[in-house]
């Protein structure tokens, strides 16, 4: 298997071809079964978090340590001398790129990771979230979890629930799953937070079926994956929020007619959209999904930094 990800920047899930997704999933599965603690020995990786995101940062850093690499970096852009001195993102990246083998970047502005690639002197950049735009490793871990639990990425019925307008995880996951055949999507959200047109158009163009539904019960008996997301209070008027909250909360009653293979995913953190009682059902998979983030991130880091895999 040729490793076409070697030396590539990982900025957007849209940049990855289906073969490349497969490569990451395959490597993730191998690393989950058999750790390779020396794979990135002697590599130094910069973890540059211009905004705080503890979960993503710790997940990346764990992945790095498990592969035997070292980390430099910062966890919050407000507390670093770089931004205090008003140094631009471009300058920061070009300086750090002379120290390390790869740079992980999290930044509040959309497009920042793409911009970083123009100043990194060919050192690979990993996007760990650029504003509301992309978070490709989240999508890779979502795909890995879906494949692991359903044994396939095609011919699936996937429901996405919550804030579908601003939720970048659901956008990227839909884009990624649209690369596979015969998947069907069900979108469930408050009226003010429906899937953006560019996603619906993309599905239409690829002749992929999608349906807007009023509630989860309607489709629970048809779906394989239930992808829940949080509805942020500030996105809705207060009465609308109260209404949305009651409508899009998942409890054990909602799951009564679920398929036996159903898995519930959530990018976390959860607020109250999944009742705690659901955690004890066999459908709850969000914590295992988060744990898979380590393997997916290990996989993508090692594929980009080491040319030869799969002896």
């Amino acid at each position: 298997m040729r490793n076409s990800l070697y030396k590539k920047n990982i900025i957007s899930i849209n940049d990855l071809k289906r073969d490349e997704l497969e490569l990451v999933l395959k490597k993730s599965a191998i690393l989950k079964k058999k750790p390779e603690p020396n794979l990135l020995k002697n590599k130094i990786i910069a973890s540059c978090f211009f905004e705080a995101s503890t979960r993503t940062r710790l997940s990346f850093e764990t992945a790095i340590y498990r592969l035997g690499a070292s980390i430099i970096g910062f966890s919050d852009g407000n507390n670093i001398s770089l931004s205090k001195k008003g140094e631009s993102l471009a300058d920061t990246i070009s300086v750090i790129s002379s120290y390390v083998d790869a740079i992980i970047i999290r930044h509040p502005q959309e497009g920042s990771a793409r911009l970083a690639t123009e100043f990194s002197n060919s050192i690979p950049i990993f996007n760990a979230g650029d504003g509301s735009n992309q978070h490709p490793t989240q999508t890779l871990l979502d795909l890995f979890t879906i494949k692991e639990t359903q044994y396939r990425l095609n011919n699936l019925n996937i429901a996405m629930v919550g804030d579908l307008k601003y939720g970048r995880t659901v956008h990227s996951l839909t884009q990624a799953l649209a690369k596979y055949k015969k998947n069907k999507f069900f979108f469930i959200s408050p009226d003010a937070l429906t899937m953006p047109n560019y996603i619906n158009d993309m599905l239409l163009e690829k002749k992929i079926s999608w349906t807007r539904c009023q509630n989860i019960e309607e489709i629970i008996s048809e779906i394989d994956i239930l992808y829940m997301t949080r509805v942020q209070k500030e996105r809705l008027e207060s009465t609308e929020y109260a209404n949305a909250k009651s409508k899009f909360i998942l409890n054990t009653k909602t799951l009564k007619n679920a398929r036996s293979n159903l898995k519930i995913l959530h990018p976390l953190p959860r607020i109250d959209e999944i009742d705690y009682a659901v955690d004890y059902t066999p459908y709850a998979w969000y914590f295992k999904q988060a744990a898979n983030g380590i393997y997916a991130r290990q996989a993508i880091l090692s594929l980009v930094l080491v040319e030869k895999h799969f002896k």
Binding site: S12, N14, S88, L89, A90, H107, P108, Q109, E110, G111, S112, R114, L115, E118, D130, G131, S132, N133, Q134, Y198, D201, L204, E205
Partner: protein, 152 residues
């Protein structure tokens, strides 16, 4: 036809951008930074036009536009023609075609897009929609906008 021509001074050598929709001529001047030159520029606004009713026209002396510049004109002025003049004679006539990509001249409508930082230039690609409309997609923030939103 003769009357129209005389409304803007003829040039000896250079480019004439004709059939620009009225109200757009001024915009083109600033967007394409045509004024950042020492060359003599003549602009005609709201001239009568058989094709458009009213049109703008820009003449730039001793300058020939690059193919890229000409095609980028098509975004704002799809019916424009670019005439090359030498010794007062028409030596070339070019009809712009929409480019695949448009750099620098547009501003991303997404206020949180990194392309607003002053050290970088914007970059958009054209995306043809099912309804035949054209959208523009920002290469940085990856957001897609209808052409009108980006151009206004």
């Amino acid at each position: 036809m003769q009357i129209n021509k005389l409304q803007v001074e003829a040039i000896k050598c250079g480019s004439v951008i004709d059939h620009i929709p009225s109200q757009i001529g001024f915009k083109l001047l600033s967007l394409f930074r045509f004024t950042e030159t020492e060359k003599r520029i003549t602009i005609g606004l709201n001239l009568p036009s058989k094709k458009l009713g009213k049109k703008d026209i820009i003449k730039i002396e001793n300058t020939f536009l690059s193919e890229d510049q000409i095609n980028q004109l098509a975004v704002y002025a799809p019916c424009a023609t670019v005439n090359y003049i030498d010794q007062y004679n028409l030596v070339g006539k070019i009809f712009p075609t929409l480019p695949k990509k448009i750099d620098r001249i547009l501003i991303c409508p997404n206020s949180n897009c990194i392309s607003h930082d002053n050290c970088i230039n914007s970059s958009f690609i054209f995306i043809k929609k099912l309804d035949k409309n054209m959208n523009l997609k920002c290469q940085y923030c990856e957001k897609e906008f209808s052409k009108n939103i980006v151009l206004s």
